[in-house]
């Protein structure tokens, strides 16, 4: 379901699940784009030589996935803030799911708070955070 106005939002509702592209190719492309090119983001074997379990997805890319999921759910949402904790690496070439749940609605302020999680297929949380978004009222 796509949300347009704050009245459309239900407390405790789940945002539609979002499957991000966490392939090595896309992670490496992203890392190069922002000047973070290096084995830890573009080469599993090179990352292992650095002592990592494999190549990772950049943390800021995971943050970008979270915001993209919000925009898929509520295209008119204005991101006011987002705070994320990189609890464990998001490994490239492993499937991940992004989920979000509405934890607060303030109709007077026109804001909605969402808890966000990036988890792998073992349901291990890799990144978690909170976003506050702004949404207009339908009568506006």
């Amino acid at each position: 379901m796509t949300v347009h106005y704050i009245e459309d939002v239900e407390f405790g509702s789940d945002l539609p699940a979002f499957i991000p592209d966490t392939s090595l190719a896309k992670g490496a492309q992203f890392a190069k784009l922002i000047g973070w090119d290096g084995p830890r983001f573009n080469d599993h074997e090179g990352a292992r030589k650095e002592g990592l379990p494999g190549a990772m997805i950049p943390g800021v890319m995971s943050q970008g996935f979270l915001v993209a999921m919000i925009h898929h759910w509520a295209p008119s949402a204005r991101i006011i803030n987002i705070d994320t904790v990189f609890r464990a690496p998001v490994m490239a070439d492993e499937s991940h799911t992004i989920s979000g749940v509405v934890t607060d609605i303030d109709p007077d302020a026109g804001t909605v708070e969402i808890d966000l999680t990036v988890a792998n297929t073992k349901q291990e949380t890799r990144v978690f955070g909170t976003a506050t978004i702004g949404l207009k009222a339908g009568a506006d």
């Binding site: 991000p20 922002i34 973070w36 970008g64 993209a68 999921m69 991101i79 705070d83 904790v85 990189f86």
Partner: protein, 146 residues
């Protein structure tokens, strides 16, 4: 609040210690948005009349230094998270000025000892001085044992 942390807060909080100008390429921000899975034209299409960088783009920008000169080295610093505050859209193609200061310093103590958390805030402004966004980097340092 531990006395040594309060002293560091008094000395360092709120004082800008780095300034850097960024040139934001529309092609880069559009590709950034697409790779993150954004589909809204205002983030992915430089020809869109409301074209802007995706809200988290500023998190990928770094200042010249993350800690001020003279800041005590408690131990090895690790990335403990990122926070973004969006005040106004960041318009690619226009210069962006980033000013860094320490926004918060606090501790948590557990079985393994004291951890010092430092929040370095990179505040972004346009050429007119309008405050557009904040990017907070949380650094955690495990205190070296005496």
């Amino acid at each position: 609040m531990d006395a040594d942390i309060q002293a560091i807060r008094d000395q360092f909080l709120g004082q800008a210690f780095d300034e850097k100008q960024f040139e934001i390429d529309p092609i880069v921000t559009a590709e950034y948005a697409r790779l993150c899975g954004e589909t809204l034209p205002k983030f992915t299409d430089p020809a869109d009349p409301d074209f802007q960088a995706s809200p988290t783009f500023v998190a990928s920008l770094s200042g010249g230094r993350s800690l001020p000169a003279g800041f005590p080295r408690f131990g090895l610093g690790m990335d403990a998270g990122k926070g973004i505050e969006c005040l106004q859209p960041v318009r690619p193609g226009q210069p962006l000025i980033g000013k860094t200061h320490l926004h918060d310093i606090y501790t948590k103590t557990g079985r393994s000892g004291r951890m010092i958390f430092v929040v370095a805030r990179l505040a972004f402004f346009d050429e007119a001085g309008t405050h557009l966004a904040n990017s907070d980097s949380r650094i955690v340092m495990r205190e070296k044992s005496a």
